[in-house]
């Protein structure tokens, strides 16, 4: 190669490398979630037949067309459940203040269908805000949903029993698929940061 051609090739190479570097630098590092586990392949919800807080029969279609934050618990839980529902409500308020659209719906699924009637769920879930969805129903149907999503629950003994249960918050996409989840402990800032990233992947 003649010296002049070598010089042209060298300058061209430097220019291309600089261009790539500037392009990558301007784009910045890829946004990563702080706390969420994003599933590489979303999990399709199974068919089920449960009741909403108004006593209406619902299936997996109730999740279609919405982004949902789903938490499993029981209304007589004095500690973790109200704490988590309060936190999710605050997350929704923060996202609204940030003018994020669409806003996720908050869904509470009872793992204590023996005591949690639709009316009890209605009173309970309404306390945490409007437009929330409460779900209860037959134990067998509930297990169809929890088994498919890896949710654990187990009733303890006694009259004033408590229920051991998973405390993850599931993110269900508008195609009725679990696309991400948040493990405990839940932090408002993490959810506010991560949810737009999860929803942008659709």
């Amino acid at each position: 190669m003649r010296p002049r051609n070598f010089l042209v090739a060298f300058v061209l190479g430097i220019a291309i490398a600089a261009g790539i570097w500037v392009s990558v630098s301007l784009r910045g590092p890829a946004a990563r979630p702080n706390a969420a586990t994003i599933l590489p392949a979303p999990i399709e919800l199974p068919q089920f037949s449960l009741l909403d807080q108004h006593g209406q029969s619902i299936g997996k279609e109730v999740f279609a067309g919405e982004w949902d934050l789903v938490f499993f618990g029981f209304t007589n839980c004095p500690d973790i459940c109200p704490l988590t529902l309060q936190l999710l409500s605050q997350v929704k308020v923060r996202l609204a203040e940030a003018k994020h659209e669409p806003l996720p719906r908050i869904v509470f699924v009872s793992v204590d269908p023996q005591r949690d009637t639709p009316a009890a769920i209605d009173s309970y879930i309404s306390f945490f805000g409007k437009d929330h969805l409460g779900i209860t129903g037959e134990l067998d149907e509930l297990r169809k949903l929890t088994s498919a999503l890896g949710i654990f629950f187990e009733k303890n003994d006694g009259d004033d029993y408590v229920v051991d249960h998973s405390v993850v918050v599931l993110v269900i996409d508008p195609q009725s698929r679990m696309s991400a989840l948040f493990g405990a402990p839940h932090r408002i800032d993490d959810l506010v940061h991560d949810l737009p990233l999860i929803m942008a992947r659709e």
Partner: protein, 141 residues
């Protein structure tokens, strides 16, 4: 020599049994949550400071406003919450037991009616050591 020994034992007993001035058990940061609509349970959180020179064992908590009060502790392991009753809470001398959200808490069961205030009574055996009166807070607070 014997007199000196007796005097030392008496002095030791007197010193060891002496309490600081003031009550041995003191409550602080009391927060009692109003039962949520549609539910018959609630939770109370607080700190219990042992100002005595002896370990205090809380074995029972009662409330005139609730049918039952249980000491509970929430454990979260592998993303599963398990709540277990505490039969006894031992508070060592000069230490503070903390009842907090997501940890130890008092579970208040079956309120007798609606009230603005709640009274919590802490027992060691049959001896009531402390009575605390607090205003209900909304769970939204």
């Amino acid at each position: 020599m014997m007199r000196l020994l007796v005097a030392l034992v008496v002095a030791g007993l007197t010193f060891g049994c002496a309490e600081e001035s003031g009550p041995p058990l003191v409550a602080g940061n009391v927060s009692v949550v109003q039962p949520l609509p549609g539910t018959t349970t609630s939770a109370a959180y607080l700190e219990l400071a042992n100002h005595s020179r002896n370990t205090i064992d809380i074995t029972k908590v009662t409330s005139p406003e609730f049918a039952a009060v249980e000491m509970h502790e929430t454990f979260i392991d592998d993303d599963i919450a398990r709540m277990r009753p505490l039969e006894k809470l031992s508070i060592a001398p000069a230490t503070t037991a903390v009842f907090e959200r997501g940890g130890k808490h008092l579970m208040l069961l079956r309120p007798y009616g609606t009230a603005d205030y709640v009274t919590l009574q802490f027992y060691a055996g049959d001896l009531m050591l402390l009575s605390v009166r607090a205003r209900f807070e909304s769970a939204a607070d």
